[in-house]
């Protein structure tokens, strides 16, 4: 902090005005930032946010250190960097000044206490109190992070609080590394395929493999796997008496395990059907065929009966059932 303080005094001396003059504060933080956000501590935060100020100050209060276990803080850090870089590089409205700052919990515990903050990250946007864009209300606008947020959302939120006018677009740097690696991977895959094609092609052209893949896909989809994926349902849940309840109550609910059980039931039923339709008529042994028919028929009957009983638990008013279950 020392050299900056001297620089600060130096500036105030040569300009011959009070050190607290707001435009100087802006210049100072602007030079500190070097196009990224400024790292603040309690003192500099206080300095940045004292009235009068003729600039906007957007400060994120965050807790990046791994000790705090704030995943959102760490995820958003790079996004925040992106925002301030995009802003500082681009052309904006004449005379509009915005300082982007980051206050980490490690450096500004008292700020967190003063603002009564229980959670992190929190974004505060302090409007200017003097100058052309001054707001009457000096209170900062506050953005609470309730879930994962992208830079675009925050950027448009900040943009809404700034006066109208041209503002730099949010530019994500092109990730050349990723493009290069993608191309390399693609070419590698192509090469690998050409080299291995004598060994791979028979596998790809294998009808049994495709049949298995298609059937598994169909079984998964028709047993509600996509519902699990989209709604993020729990795998199982307790029944309140220390046991496990396998089937969720209600027609519109299901558990992960439940769908797997149902998929298994469907699979058993389907394979029994396939056996009866395809395998059994091809058996030459008379006794064996009889046995197979009875076995598969019984499996089919019992499993279907079980399926109906499961469905009955899901849909209370369902009137149909088959004997065993």
């Amino acid at each position: 902090m020392k050299p900056w303080a001297t620089l600060f005094i130096f500036f105030s001396v040569i300009s011959g005005v009070l050190a607290a003059k707001p435009s100087d504060t802006f210049e100072k933080f602007q030079s500190l930032s070097r196009s990224g956000p400024v790292d603040l501590d309690s003192a500099s935060f206080k300095e940045l946010t004292t009235v009068p100020r003729d600039y906007y100050a957007a400060v994120i209060l965050t807790a990046i250190d791994a000790r705090y276990g704030c995943i959102m803080c760490r995820e958003f850090d790079s996004e925040w960097d992106l925002i301030s870089r995009s802003w500082n590089k681009g052309t904006k409205l004449e005379g509009l000044k915005v300082v982007f700052g980051t206050l980490d919990f490690d450096h500004g515990k008292d700020v967190f206490q003063k603002l009564l903050l229980q959670t992190a990250p929190v974004l505060l946007l302090f409007p200017p109190t003097v100058g052309p864009f001054a707001k009457v209300d000096a209170e900062p606008a506050r953005f609470d992070f309730t879930g994962p947020v992208t830079a675009d959302q925050i950027y448009s939120w900040i943009g809404r609080h700034l006066p109208d006018g041209p503002r730099p677009p949010l530019i994500r740097p092109v990730n050349y590394m990723r493009i290069a690696s993608a191309i390399t991977l693609l070419m590698g895959a192509a090469t690998l395929f050409t080299v291995l094609s004598p060994y791979v092609l028979p596998i790809i052209q294998n009808r049994n493999l495709w049949a298995a893949v298609s059937l598994i896909a169909i079984l998964l989809f028709t047993s509600g796997q996509m519902f699990n994926h989209i709604r993020k349902v729990p795998y199982v849940a307790g029944d309140g008496h220390g046991g496990i309840s396998y089937f969720a109550g209600g027609f519109q609910n299901q558990f992960g395990l439940e769908t797997q059980i149902v998929a298994a039931i469907y699979a058993v039923l389907s394979f029994a059907t396939i056996a009866l339709a395809v395998k059994v008529p091809r058996m030459e042994d008379v006794k064996g065929q009889q046995l197979a028919v009875i076995t598969w028929g019984a499996v089919l009957f019992a499993t279907y009966s079980f399926l109906l009983s499961v469905f009955k638990t899901k849909n209370g008013g369902y009137p149909f059932y088959l004997p065993p279950f």
Binding site: R207, S214, A217, F227, Q254, P281, Q289, Q290, V293, F320
Partner: protein, 742 residues
């Protein structure tokens, strides 16, 4: 002798004729069953149009019948989306209305006087009979078995997955679209099998009809190219394929572009690009095949293959480049949200808010398809066994549509046809083996057992047959039992779940008698008879079509959700304080506000339960003025009782729902039966609206927007004055914002 007389009927050419006649009779019976199982709602209630969208279709059909085809084509509707209006003629799929218009005119020509409403109500059941027939044709292409087609037709006729969208009165695009879908696929299979331009052109013709009828045509647009692509990858390119695909694509695209709503989308939208890409690919492959005939050298063939790949890759990259640069529109949101399942929730709340766009839980599959759901994989397996071109189609269709049906409840409809085909294939394979009376001859078996089959493991051995009668009886009986259960299930589901018009509700009284709740029509008729012809009604968009259809009054927003901002405006008016809402209402010329309130009856589909979506959609446009968080208590609960947040209690929706509600109960006893909570003892106070009408069971409440005060006071003061309260001096300094009248 009885046997010989039967022989005359069953053998030779007269046997063929007998079977043909039987087949026709069975198909007609199936069609009759399909139609009659959809008539529950007409018998129970009356011949009435159901739900929401059908009311618009009905209104459009009436317009078509009254004003003729050309004015329908150019229809600008100034009675919806006030004050914007809607270019209705250019933003709808006209196939449904034109179909019923044609039927109407044919019947008139035959001097049969039928009300257009009855045509609309019965169109869906009528077409379901045709769907069963189309299903028969499609399945007959898949299998040589005599029973497969009939089974598929029967399944299609009564399976609840299709009935759900085609009961009498459900006058929606799907009513005819599923028939067109199945029939187009039948024609396509026919075209691929025969390689004939005629079948290809017929496919294109019905594809064009499908485009004019339903937005789901995109499914065909992508499925047929995918089929062709897979066939090419399997090395099954043939001139048959080339002829049928190019004919279909060229004619079908031209045909689809005739629909104003579709217009140039087929060449400018990513949804259609796969068809174009495959069209290019098949030209390359055809060229390569052509040249290959003249170039015997192996090197040349390699070169050619790599050339094909290279050009295809370049074309693909070009397509990507064009869509990135914006020449080709990106995937439409609805379609895109099928792949990226989280997309709609973040970006298009209006799509996510519709209940039929939710993912499907497993009971819904079983509910809609019953035992077909487990015959389905078996049928797909049987397709793998034969694996001709048409079976590849079934497999692709099956996998894709089961994915789609899993993502979106509504797309169960596209899954149902293929489930019926596959299940019929599986069941007919069983029945064909087990319903044969004669025993297999062991010696003949021994001869045939050395086999030709190639790679598929389970079909290496030849079919022998079933030896014992006991096996035959067991399997046949159990299958018949499952079939009977299926019929019972379908009837039960149709009668219980899919036959409610949802305009008229029915409930059971404690003594078991039926109690009809007819609040919707009561309220809409009140509007029709007691308000001026051009009184603007504001309601949430769900009820827009019904108000337009039944009350015949202009609305602000309706179920055609083309303008998200306008919907958000309504959402904001509903979710804000009166002081904010009133200027919005005035600016949009709103005369009446309609809300649906189920608190008295325990009707859960009411506006307060949809309220959060209004808030969310409004927040999407005005994030600073509407904030979802404000409607939840500090503990994150959505409450409407004493502990509701001030924002909630002051919102127009809350006030309109509970206004005067406590007067029904003894003091302090007011209960909301939907949310099961006790309400505050005092009724909310409304200053800028006055209650105009409340229906019998309080389901619909209509409020009139007050005019500006005669004395120039704001409504707050006027109401306070009327109540005899003393005017507060301090109101000028601080207080809620008041309406400024310019």
């Amino acid at each position: 002798m009885a046997e010989s007389s039967l022989d005359v009927l069953l053998k030779g050419s007269s046997g063929r004729n007998t079977r043909g006649l039987l087949r026709i009779i069975i198909l007609l019976t199936i069609a009759a069953a399909a139609v009659s199982s959809r008539l529950f709602s007409v018998i129970r209630f009356e011949s009435i149009i159901h739900e929401f969208d059908p009311w618009f279709n009905f209104r459009a059909t009436k317009y078509l019948v009254q004003n003729g085809f050309y004015s329908f084509w150019d229809w600008f509707d100034d009675r919806t989306w006030h004050p914007l209006g809607r270019v209705t003629g250019g933003t709808l799929y006209p196939g449904l209305m034109v179909t019923s218009g044609i039927i109407y005119h044919i019947l008139r020509f035959l001097t049969i006087p039928v009300d257009i409403r009855n045509i609309c109500v019965l169109l869906a059941p009528g077409f379901s009979g045709l769907t069963a027939l189309a299903m028969y044709f499609l399945t007959c292409e898949m299998s040589s078995s005599p029973s497969a087609g009939l089974l598929a037709a029967a399944f299609m006729g009564i399976t609840p997955g299709y009935i759900s969208r085609s009961v009498a009165g459900s006058y929606d695009n799907e009513a005819i679209a599923i028939f067109l879908l199945v029939f187009t696929f039948f024609l396509w299979i026919k075209a691929v099998k025969n390689g004939s331009i005629m079948w290809g052109a017929l496919t294109a013709l019905f594809y064009g009809y499908m485009v004019s009828a339903w937005g789901g045509y995109v499914f065909i647009t992508n499925l047929i190219p995918l089929h062709v692509f897979v066939l090419i990858c399997m090395g099954r390119y043939s001139t048959r394929l080339y002829i049928s695909y190019t004919t279909w694509y060229a004619l079908g695209t031209l045909g689809s572009m005739q629909i104003p709503f579709v217009g140039f989308l087929p060449i400018r939208n990513s949804d259609h690009m796969s068809a174009l890409g495959i069209f290019g690919l098949i030209q390359l492959v055809a060229f390569a095949e052509f040249v290959r005939g003249y170039l015997p050298g192996k090197q040349f063939q390699k070169l050619l293959t790599s050339m094909v790949f290279l050009v295809f890759g370049l074309g693909f990259a070009g397509l990507i480049l064009l869509s990135v640069s914006g020449v080709i529109a990106p995937w439409s949101g609805r379609f895109y949200s099928l792949w990226d399942t989280g997309y709609a929730k973040i970006h298009i709340p209006i799509i996510a808010s519709v209940s039929e766009h939710q993912p499907t839980a497993w009971p819904a599959f079983f509910f809609d398809l019953n035992f077909l759901i487990w015959l389905f994989p078996a049928g797909v397996f049987i397709c793998f066994q034969k694996l001709k071109d048409e079976h590849v189609f079934v497999i692709i269709y099956a996998v894709l549509s089961s994915y789609f049906a899993g993502v979106m409840v509504r797309l169960m409809l596209t899954l149902t046809p293929i489930v019926c085909v596959a299940a019929a294939l599986a069941l007919s394979a069983i029945l064909d083996n087990f319903l044969v009376l004669s025993k297999p001859d062991p010696e003949a078996v021994a001869k045939a057992s050395s086999d030709d089959s190639k790679s598929f493991r389970s079909s290496r051995n030849a079919v022998v047959g079933i030896y014992s009668y006991f096996s035959k009886t067991v399997v046949t009986c159990s299958m018949s039992l499952y079939l009977l259960l299926f019929v019972a299930h379908c009837t039960w589901v149709t009668s219980n779940a899919y036959s409610s018009p949802s305009v008229v509700l029915a409930s059971k009284m404690p003594d078991g008698s039926q109690f009809i709740i007819d609040d919707y029509r009561e309220a809409y008729y009140w509007l029709r008879q007691n308000t001026p012809d051009n009184a603007k009604i504001m309601s949430w968009w769900d009820y827009g079509y019904q108000i337009g259809g039944m009350a015949d009054r202009p609305t602000l927003v309706d179920n055609n959700t083309w303008n998200n901002t306008h919907i958000a405006t309504v959402g904001k008016a509903m979710s804000s304080r009166e002081e904010v809402s009133y200027p919005i209402l005035r600016q949009h010329d709103v005369d009446y506000v309609l809300v649906v309130f189920g608190g008295l009856l325990g009707y859960s589909g009411d506006d307060l339960n949809k309220f959060l979506w209004m808030v969310r959609i409004a927040e999407g446009i005005w994030p600073d003025e509407v904030n979802e968080r404000d409607y939840f208590t500090s503990r994150g609960e959505y409450r409407v009782d004493e502990e509701a947040t001030p924002t909630m209690k002051n919102s127009l929706m809350y006030k309109m729902s509970y206004y005067n509600y406590n007067s029904l109960f003894p003091a302090g006893q007011a209960v909301d039966r939907v949310r099961g909570v006790k309400l505050p003892a005092e009724s909310p106070q409304l200053n800028t609206l006055e209650e105009a009408f409340t229906s019998e069971n309080w389901i619909i409440r209509i409020y009139k927007v007050k005019d500006l005060d005669n004395l120039g006071r704001d409504h707050n003061n006027a109401v306070a004055f009327d109540k005899g309260l003393k005017r507060k001096r301090a109101t000028k300094k601080k207080g809620p914002r008041v309406l400024r009248t310019e």
